[in-house]
């Protein structure tokens, strides 16, 4: 029997976030994109005490296997990112758009009031491969939009996570 999950609580901020946590790829990387958004509760209020983690493939669609997820393995891309939300519930990552027919980033959100994390995926808008993606296809059509980031500019994508309510993000069982 597995060890039960317990909430991350409000006091992880001095222990879990680290300096380069949001820099999955450094901002100066020529192909760096910014992925950002807010984590919101059922009334639309921001969560100032959430932790967002991402895990993804590189620009060629390969999942990093080398040691060095914290230090970016000395070669500029780690695949793993961690960012605590600020007072406005805002998080950000500097990363690379992953390769593959339907590029996507795995997202986990932890927070006070979440007895276990929520797991979702961030997909990119306008990708021809999205329609055939098996995970996206299994999501009810009227909720699929909650998994697709909004393009704000060439290099910036917005992805809000609604834990609850009308616009509730699709979360996956794991």
């Amino acid at each position: 029997m597995t060890t039960p999950s317990q909430t991350i609580g409000p006091f992880f901020g001095f222990a879990l976030p680290y300096g380069d946590g949001p820099r999955v790829a450094p901002e100066w990387h020529p192909d760096a994109v910014r992925v950002h958004g807010r984590v919101l509760d059922g009334t639309g209020d921001p969560l100032p005490d959430a932790l967002v983690e991402i895990w993804q493939a590189d620009a060629d669609g390969r999942v990093p296997g080398a040691v060095g997820a914290i230090s970016r393995a000395g070669h500029g891309f780690s695949g793993f990112g961690r960012c605590g939300t600020d007072a406005d519930g805002h998080y950000w990552f500097s990363t690379l758009k992953p390769g593959g027919p339907a590029p996507h980033i795995a997202v986990l959100v932890f927070a006070r009031g979440l007895l276990k994390p929520v797991a979702t995926r961030l997909y990119f808008p306008g990708e021809a491969g999205n329609a055939a993606d098996p995970v996206l296809s299994a999501v009810p059509a009227d909720r699929r939009d909650t998994l697709i980031a909004e393009r704000e500019s060439d290099r910036t994508y917005r992805f809000d996570v609604h834990l609850q309510g009308e616009q509730e993000t699709v979360f996956f069982a794991s």
């Binding site: 029997m1 597995t2 060890t3 039960p4 999950s5 317990q6 909430t7 609580g9 409000p10 006091f11 992880f12 901020g13 001095f14 222990a15 879990l16 509760d41 059922g42 009334t43 969560l47 983690e53 895990w55 993804q56 493939a57 999942v63 990093p64 080398a66 040691v67 060095g68 997820a69 230090s71 695949g79 793993f80 992953p98 996507h104 795995a106 986990l108 932890f110 006070r112 009031g113 979440l114 007895l115 276990k116 994390p117 929520v118 797991a119 098996p134 995970v135 296809s137 299994a138 009810p140 834990l163 609850q164 309510g165 509730e168 993000t169 699709v170 979360f171 996956f172 069982a173 794991s174």
Partner: protein
Amino acid sequence: MTDSHPPYLYPPYKSTVLRAPSRPLVVPEYGPDAVELSGPVFGHAELGLLDNDLTRQHSGEPLGERIIVTGRVLDDRGRPVPGALVEVWQTNAAGRYVHLRDQHPAPLDPNFTGAGRCLTDAGGRYEFTTIKPGAYPWRNHHNAWRPAHIHFSVFGAAFTQRLVTQMYFPGDPLFAHDPIFQSVPDEKARERLVARFDLETTVPEQALGYQWDIVLGATPMET
């Protein structure tokens, strides 16, 4: 997440009410290449040498009862998970977090931060030396106190195995009154959150020893 975990919505823990997802979870059709079936790999060079000894991170010795907390990280079939990053954070002996938002009027300890990390060895074993944390009040309901606990964050081989939980100490009278502990529906599963005092792990004249194994979900891509 499977069987033993608490539900998202558990109204006695008030913060769940506006944060628990209310729509059914979607069961994902992960192919063998799904990114979630792998996870980040961490190395010793990324950690400090004293990261797993919370009693030696300052110039002096922290106040409180020195303890050793050790155990194995296992998968659901009982196999050790080597190289797993284990991170911990906790209050000091007086029940106070270093965190700025902690307003509990108990003293800070200049010799204790309360954060540590380590990697499991080839046998899946982790070990921390620390101070027994204190109980602390919170505002969930009248006269609410959290039982003493150490927060744990663990990475398995896959992102689907990611676990954040809390370790408790045996026989705490606050268990019955703590909605976070009680949110786990199954009593046997709740017991998995409680460490075991172990005289073998105890170091004479130095520190009490506790054993606590952590069991993650299934390791994907089995042969």
